[in-house]
């Protein structure tokens, strides 16, 4: 019998379970079919008053077993409070595979756990599979997204982080008989060396909700100026979408880091992705190539962006976009 796949379930600042937990659970089910009798498990470090409402969420998402530690100290995440508890729990649970969402918290915590357990960790995987020897084969982009590498671990648990939105959650809820296991942890009077003094939520325009946008109008180096990005914003507003950007556009100061799509930015899956003045380097396209429809506007007909675009127009975005906006407005 397999020792199971453990998923770290992050509790967000708004006190819900991060959606990446369920995306990973769904992927874990698929992996479990290739391992014999493999339970899907979760580990959650949570404030005591939240665990009851989470139980139902774990049940309908098909978790076989949920390990939890309930303590008031888990109110706000700091590495030195969460890491020692998570390390001890993972050591006790001893899973075969451990998956963690590559959120800010996950990327902070995961390497602490893997280093402490002297095991391997593969970051930001875009593909997970079980190979012929029953090992986790974790595939990720590297070298600025230009090279894909499949990585195996010689040690256990085999660990990987995956960004939100890379995998999809289950289409329909299930109802399983989840076994909840409360775990104890003795802090022995330990006081955190880190104190969270203040949290300022980004205003909505700063967050620029790339994650849930159905339409993203993205610009690259070809948009040249803040003026160019105003044009993109206008097109985005016309289509009810938001603005995205390539790494170069962000580095040139044309757009905020929050807008960045790609390997060092966000992974997005909109219904429509419009790439304007973006050449289509793999660093960028690994973050958007799962979009349902890709439209590209570029001066260079040989730009790699056209290789992944469904529809394209060759020309100057500064001339094309205003005409497009006009045409779209006329037809709606």
């Amino acid at each position: 019998m397999s020792k199971g796949i453990l998923i770290y379930s992050e509790v967000t600042r708004e006190n819900y379970l991060h959606t990446v937990t369920f995306e990973l659970a769904n992927k874990a089910r698929e992996l479990a079919q290739k391992l014999s009798d493999c339970p899907i498990m979760a580990l959650v470090l949570v404030k005591p008053d939240l665990i009851d409402e989470f139980k139902e969420v774990f049940r309908v998402n098909g978790f076989d077993k949920v390990f939890y530690v309930a303590d008031e100290r888990f109110r706000t995440y700091t590495t030195d409070i969460f890491a020692p508890v998570a390390i001890k729990c993972v050591r006790d649970i001893d899973p075969e595979i451990m998956l963690i969402g590559a959120t800010n918290q996950g990327r902070d915590l995961a390497p602490r756990i893997s280093s402490a357990l002297h095991t391997g960790l593969t970051a930001d995987c875009t593909g997970l599979d079980i190979n012929e020897s029953g090992k986790l084969a974790a595939t990720r982009p590297t070298f600025g997204g230009q090279l894909m590498a499949t990585i195996l671990s010689k040690k256990f648990p085999q660990m990987a982080t995956v960004r939100p939105k890379v995998f999809k959650p289950m289409k329909e809820f299930v109802n399983v008989d989840t076994n909840f296991v409360r775990m104890g942890y003795d802090f022995c009077g330990y006081k955190s060396k880190i104190e969270v003094l203040e949290f300022t939520k980004k205003i909505t325009s700063e967050i620029n909700n790339l994650d849930c946008a159905e339409v993203i109008v993205a610009g690259g180096r070809g948009m040249q100026s803040a003026e160019g990005f105003k044009l993109l914003k206008e097109l985005a507003d016309t289509l009810g979408g938001v603005v995205g950007a390539s790494r170069l556009a962000v580095e040139m100061g044309l757009a905020d880091k929050n807008c960045q799509v790609g390997q060092t930015g966000k992974t997005v899956i909109p219904k429509l992705y419009i790439a304007c003045g973006i050449s289509g380097a793999l660093q960028h396209t690994v973050g958007m190539n799962n979009a349902e429809r890709v439209i590209a506007i570029n001066k260079d007909r040989n730009a790699p962006i056209f290789e992944i675009a469904d529809y394209g127009m060759v020309g100057d975005a500064f001339e094309i976009i205003p005409k497009l906006i006009q045409s779209i407005k006329q037809h709606t």
Binding site: R112, S115, T142, M148, I151, L152, V215, T264, I328
Partner: protein, 260 residues
């Protein structure tokens, strides 16, 4: 305050060429200092200005040619430079790298107050080495640091940029911080700085010098290994090109004509 600034020399990934066999052409690949490490260096320089008697050791792990990058950093006003270089370190994953760097710091700079790293390197982009070093030295860590708010001999106040907002945190020292993109203007070396740097040497240390078991580093000391590497596959689509704006505009309707 005693600071260790960890930096990495990386290939310029925006300029990668491929060989006929779909492997990366490493010859002629430009080496640059990892962009996040430039921001990390700015934070170190800011602390050096604000906290008197601060010394900064710049530390890197890599081939001998990384010494040039360290020389350039010395010209910015850093005090010492150490390069961990040994064939035995080659092919270390983030675990083995964390182990090697932490061992070197524990052996050679045990009285440090602060370790500063870049959040991630553009070649591997794992963001794991910093936390791995912190684990082996049993330090509190603050990742995603955007700005230094305040500092004194015993603590740092920092601003972190997270997905949904900005978090102001304070940490006691010793600690490790990982610095992400920020708005600090990169400092340029002065002529005086360059002259000072020519008087300094980059200290090169090998596996034996830091008292590390060769089995703990390099490929041997790495729990992970690359089973295969391949060129990223592209989505199989045929782009339909338009010349007429009106026809092109019809493709922007995400309802896909259901409402027509």
């Amino acid at each position: 305050m005693k600071i260790v600034l960890c930096v990495k020399q990386v290939p310029d990934t925006s300029d990668i060429k491929w060989t006929e066999n779909n492997t990366i052409q490493r010859e002629g690949l430009e080496s640059i200092i990892n962009p996040c490490d430039v921001y990390a260096a700015e934070i170190a320089l800011t602390i050096k200005k604000e906290c008197p008697n601060t010394t900064v050791t710049v530390l890197s792990m890599g081939p001998n040619q990384a010494g040039k990058m360290l020389k350039k950093l010395l010209a910015l006003g850093f005090d010492e430079a150490v390069l961990l270089s040994d064939k035995k370190f080659a092919a270390s994953d983030t675990y083995a790298t964390g182990k090697t760097i932490s061992k070197a710091i524990a052996e050679k700079i045990p009285d440090f107050d602060l370790i500063i790293c870049g959040q991630y390197a553009i070649d591997g982009d794992t963001a794991q080495t910093g936390p791995s070093i912190a684990n082996f030295l049993n330090l509190p860590q603050i990742t995603y640091v955007k700005e230094l708010v305040e500092c004194d001999e015993n603590k740092l106040t920092l601003l972190r940029e997270l997905e949904e907002g900005f978090e102001k945190v304070q940490t006691k020292l010793p600690a490790l911080i990982c610095v992400t993109e920020n708005s600090y203007e990169p400092t340029r070396a002065t002529i005086g700085g360059v002259i000072e740097a020519t008087k300094k040497e980059v200290k090169i240390l090998n596996c034996n010098d830091i008292g590390l078991e060769p089995a703990c580093t390099g490929l041997k000391g790495s729990p992970t290994y690359v089973s295969k590497a391949f060129r990223a596959v592209k989505k199989e689509v045929q782009c339909e090109f338009f010349e007429n704006i009106e026809d092109f505009a019809k493709n922007f309707d995400i309802l896909g004509g259901e409402n027509e």
